[in-house]
């Protein structure tokens, strides 16, 4: 700043992509509150995007707002991003990360040699803290000259950019300005300072082959958090909060920052006395002196807090890291110049769902959406789409899928300014929420081969009503299934897919493609089922049993006789397996009983075997657990089963009974209190009122009859 006042330039040339110049008029006005960022994207493909963030302490921000205030000219002289965008080669590095440019590697190395972890601090200490301008410019120039010679020949990108900058300087020089100030990164100093020594024609030759595309640029709000993430200095800590302090308070920054640290820690429940803060300040100064720094930097403050307050541990600082180091400042861009297309779309859609007021409040609200109403259904789809885009405006608390028998979704909704940034980021996927979420989900689906993940994405696509994505994921699934037909994952995925059909009416989706997919999957899964099951250990059996019951339930919903028959056959193989875990075996047997494939006589036979005295009680208890898994109330009504279990318990000695008890309890834990009472009553009564059913279920199925004869001959 003092530099500007001293030199009083009538024209400032800034190292910013040329197309951003149109936006300069807003800098320093009350339409913008930094941190903000200029977003530049390819008009045709919004996913090709660059951010140019500003903080209040950015030199560019300071210079441009000074020029705006004093009415002097200010221009952007760096190569337009439109050129970079046109060529893939140029697009790395620069586009994603503008802040990093300021300290390219050789400078970072020098800083480290000088004993600084943070190149920014080194630069500050060495150059910017001195008052006379002339003093250090020749020094910097000398250093840069040498560095550029040492470094690998400056890459083409740099050369082209510098040629462009010189061209702009020439243009400005021809006009009637008297004092032109060129604000560029030190790295470019040798190339820009002696601009008149370079031939204009040579520069032109470099620029000529470049192609240009159409881009759009506008301001979006930014946050310190984002700046700190994107600048990512590996060696040091990049701390926007610290630099803001330094900018605002200069010499007093250390004390102010430590006081802030103390206050924040007190808020988190630490007891910090003012004396400790002043002790830390003393230590920080002492350290700075020892390290030959003019004033203490964040590193010294850090060390001081650790030693004085943190008992030598760094962990105390993690508590206040985000506030103290990163800072929770979020910028603002006035609506009149806000151009983020997704935000506009969101505004429009919320309005049509009569929720427009939501964006003006920062309270957390509960919204219950009745999916049978069109406007509510649309709002639900909007929320799901936003979640796909990771714009977490709304969190789902309850849905028909989780709470059966309802038609409503319960959402918790909260708008915050930081979502604005998320929305802008999501803008890379498209200019409307529907298109963006569609593209993003397709992109994610294309990157994974995980069937489970894909199945859950299908669910998302359904809820967000993105039929295009839906079809494309199903196609993708078909491709993967070709190599994965025998995977056990499929067993777990099918119930979810069936759910999609079940709620399809409510969500208004086309079901035929899922049915087609299921037609391909179910026969395979059922035929491989016995093999999968054999591979399950006792520890995993409980989970597998649940999966099996879900699968059975899913087949129930579909109500396809062919599917049922295949499943029955698989179960019949499973109950005879020698290696299958007892719990799964019992659950399979129970399923066959419930489905009326096996009658009570056969099932009792199996049960008697399972409860034989010779077997180890633990296994038997597991068996019972599996048998009762689907519905434990069976014993209330069925005397013969009950008697079998009774007999088994009777022959256990006290010691064994005690040990088997926990598993038994678990086995019966699914019974309600009332059911238990009823069971106890029946156990007491000698006469059983319920007649045991004695039908034969296998009539007319020769396959099954053969099978059963085989089993019985065992």
């Amino acid at each position: 700043m003092h530099l500007l006042k001293e030199y009083e330039p009538d024209c400032i040339l800034v190292e910013m992509p040329q197309e951003t110049e149109d936006l300069f008029q807003h800098i320093g006005s009350n339409l913008l509150k930094p941190p903000v960022s200029i977003l530049v994207h390819d008009k045709k493909d919004p996913s090709r995007v660059s951010y140019l963030p500003f903080t209040v302490f950015s030199p560019e921000w300071q210079a441009i707002s000074w020029a705006n205030q004093t009415g002097n000219a200010v221009r952007a002289i760096d190569l337009p991003l439109a050129y970079f965008k046109a060529s893939e080669n140029y697009s790395k590095g620069l586009l994603s990360d503008f802040t990093k440019l300021k300290f390219s590697n050789p400078l970072g190395k020098i800083a480290r040699l000088a004993g600084f972890n943070d190149p920014e601090q080194w630069w500050n200490e060495t150059f910017e803290q001195h008052t006379a301008i002339g003093d250090y410019f020749p020094l910097i120039e000398y250093m840069m000259d040498n560095l550029r010679d040492l470094d690998e020949p400056s890459n083409k990108e740099t050369l082209v950019r510098e040629a462009f900058m010189r061209k702009q300087i020439r243009i400005a020089a021809k006009e009637s300005f008297e004092r032109i100030l060129v604000l560029v990164g030190a790295w470019h100093l040798p190339a820009v300072k002696k601009w008149s020594e370079w031939k204009a024609s040579a520069d032109q030759a470099l620029l000529k082959p470049l192609k240009k595309i159409k881009v759009e640029q506008f301001f979006i709000p930014w946050s310190y958090e984002q700046i700190s993430v994107s600048s990512g200095y590996r060696a040091g800590v990049f701390s926007p909060a610290w630099y803001e302090h330094l900018f605002k308070y200069n010499e007093e920054a250390v004390d102010r920052w430590l006081i802030l640290a103390g206050r924040l820690l007190r808020q988190k429940g630490f007891v910090i006395s003012p004396a400790q803060i002043s002790d830390a300040a003393v230590l920080a100064r002492q350290l700075a002196q020892m390290r030959s720094r003019r004033i203490a930097g964040i590193g010294e403050c850090w060390d001081a807090i650790q030693a004085v307050i943190g008992q030598g541990h760094r962990s105390i600082l993690n508590v206040v890291w985000s506030e103290l180091v990163v800072g929770n400042e979020v910028g603002k861009v006035d609506r009149s110049i806000l151009a983020a297309p997704l935000y506009k779309d969101l505004e429009k859609q919320l309005k049509s769902a009569r929720m427009g007021a939501l964006l003006n409040s920062s309270d957390r609200l509960k919204k219950e959406l009745d999916l049978r109403k069109d406007s509510n259904l649309n709002a639900s789809r909007l929320f799901h789409r936003l979640n796909i885009l990771e714009v977490s405006l709304a969190t789902l608390k309850q849905s028909p899928e989780t709470k059966r028998g309802t038609f409503s979704e319960l959402w918790s909704v909260k708008w915050t300014a930081s979502l604005m940034i998320k929305l802008s980021e999501a803008g890379v996927w498209g200019n409307s929420i529907e298109i963006a979420s569609c593209k993003k989900l397709i992109d994610q689906a294309g990157k994974t081969k995980d069937i489970k993940v894909l199945a859950s994405m299908l669910g998302l696509a359904q809820k967000a009503n993105l039929p295009g994505v839906f079809e494309s994921i199903i196609d993708h699934l078909f491709d993967i299934l070709v190599v994965n037909e025998s995977s056990m994952v499929l067993l777990e995925v099918i119930p979810g897919l069936v759910n999609l059909i079940r709620y399809g009416d409510l969500r208004q989706t086309n079901q035929s493609s899922i049915l087609e997919l299921l037609e391909r999957l179910i026969p395979n899964v059922s035929s491989y089922l016995p093999d999968f099951a054999n591979g399950i250990s006792d520890e995993e059996a409980s989970l597998f049993t649940d999966t099996l019951l879900d699968y059975n339930h899913a087949l129930d919903v579909l109500g396809n006789a062919d599917y049922e028959k295949l499943f029955d056959q698989a179960l019949l193989v499973m109950i005879r397996s020698q290696v299958l875990s007892a719990e799964i075996q019992a659950a399979s047997l129970r399923l066959l009983f419930d489905k009326k494939v096996l009658d009570i006589k056969l099932v009792s036979g199996f049960m008697r075997k399972a409860l034989s005295r010779s077997l180890d009680w633990e296994k038997t208890a597991l068996w019972l657990k599996g048998f009762l898994r689907s519905n434990p109330d069976l014993f209330i009504y069925n005397r013969s089963f009950r008697n079998l279990v009774d007999e088994w318990v009777d022959q256990l000695d006290e010691q064994d009974f005690k040990v088997a008890l926990p598993t038994l309890r678990k086995a019966f834990s699914g019974m309600g209190r009332k059911a238990v009472a009823e069971l106890m009553e029946r156990l007491d009564s000698t006469e059983d009122a319920v007649e045991v059913e004695k039908e034969k279920w296998v009539d007319g199925d020769p396959d099954l009859e053969d099978l059963l004869n085989f089993i019985l001959s065992d």
Partner: protein
């Protein structure tokens, strides 16, 4: 060297030349009564060239930042507390800092559970006391009092082993920089330059935890175990060389491979993971610090010199190693055996060490 040499040489004796050279070159501002500036003290600790000819040997291998904080603390009016697990060079660092600052590392109080207030304040010369009554002449100063009077650094070892009520007698000394003598209605005031370096062991945590009032008066610097294998090997080699000079054993230095091997085994067992990061291990109950590795190697060297062929071999290492690891006979044996079978056996360079260890524990 003189005819009679001592087992332990104080830092200021041993590095007399280095300290003199640093003093000569030291231009940075010094706190009152400091021999060297804080910057020079850190230079003394961390080592590095001084001018073109002189090279200061490094005494501390680790983060320079920690030493800077430690020395800077002493220049403020707070005392310094060095904490860390056993064998992280706390005492070593405190001795060298004291030598650097005031050229005297001998003003020392060893903290014990049975220590009395006298050791931190003053005692009485009872003959004079009975003869003439209480007077300044009858007072026998403690090391702390002596440091106050001379403006030097007092060192207190194992601060947290000292009972809390005795610890409390340091409060006035640290906050008021004075030591009241109520019997004479007088006080002894600390001369500039006085400060205290205390050390405490994190394994003792909770024995006599510092009170809030005490904590307020100390800046704490935690000395960590060496982060990288390379650093730890360097520390061990350096210390071994220093010991050779001391004990004057005329032996070949221990082969680097042996040092590397042993330090690696120590680190892997201590950290519960192999250096490559691919296998997780159980850690035995023993601390297995760097200092212990040094003592095992030293032991191996003595074994090799007096009972072996002079060169430290895997058999010599195995004896010390198994002794260091097997503190709890049952658990540690199982853990060590697992390490031998899973890790050591599969490393070509550790084959012989594996055989030697196996022969010892079974």
């Amino acid at each position: 060297m003189s005819k009679q040499s001592f087992l332990h040489q104080y830092s200021e004796e041993k590095y007399k030349k280095e300290l003199a050279a640093l003093l000569k070159a030291d231009k940075a501002p010094k706190p009152e009564n400091w021999k060297l500036s804080p910057k020079a003290v850190v230079h003394f600790l961390m080592g590095g060239p001084l001018g073109a000819k002189i090279k200061i040997t490094p005494k501390y291998f680790g983060d320079r930042r920690l030493m800077e904080v430690a020395v800077a603390s002493l220049a403020t009016d707070r005392a310094l507390l060095l904490v860390g697990v056993p064998g992280t060079a706390k005492t070593w660092v405190s001795e060298h800092i004291a030598a650097g600052i005031c050229g005297d590392s001998k003003i020392l109080v060893q903290g014990t559970a049975g220590i009395m207030e006298d050791a931190l304040r003053y005692g009485w010369n009872y003959a004079t006391l009975l003869k003439d009554g209480p007077s300044m002449e009858a007072i026998v100063p403690s090391p702390v009092m002596y440091a106050m009077q001379t403006g030097k650094i007092a060192r207190i070892e194992e601060l947290t082993r000292i009972p809390s009520d005795v610890q409390d007698s340091l409060l006035t000394i640290l906050s008021e920089k004075s030591l009241p003598v109520p019997e004479l209605n007088q006080e002894i005031r600390a001369v500039s330059g006085f400060n205290i370096i205390a050390t405490s062991n994190t394994r003792d945590k909770g024995v006599n935890e510092l009170s809030a009032a005490m904590q307020r008066r100390f800046n704490v610097v935690e000395l960590p175990l060496p982060k990288y294998l390379k650093d730890e090997v360097k520390i061990v080699q350096n210390r071994l060389q220093a010991m050779d000079m001391q004990v004057e054993l005329e032996v070949n230095t221990i082969p680097e491979a042996a040092v590397l091997k042993l330090v690696q085994v120590f680190r892997e067992l201590r950290n519960g993971i192999v250096e490559e990061g691919s296998i997780k291990l159980k850690s035995p109950s023993a601390g297995l610090s760097t200092a212990e590795a040094i003592s095992v190697l030293n032991n191996a060297q003595v074994l090799a010199t007096h009972f072996g062929d002079g060169v430290v071999g895997d058999k010599d290492l195995a004896v010390g190693l198994t002794n260091a690891v097997l503190k709890d006979p049952q658990n540690d044996r199982a853990i060590f055996n697992e390490y031998l079978e899973v890790v050591m056996k599969n490393r070509e360079e550790m084959k012989n060490l594996y055989d030697a260890c196996k022969a010892l524990i079974f």
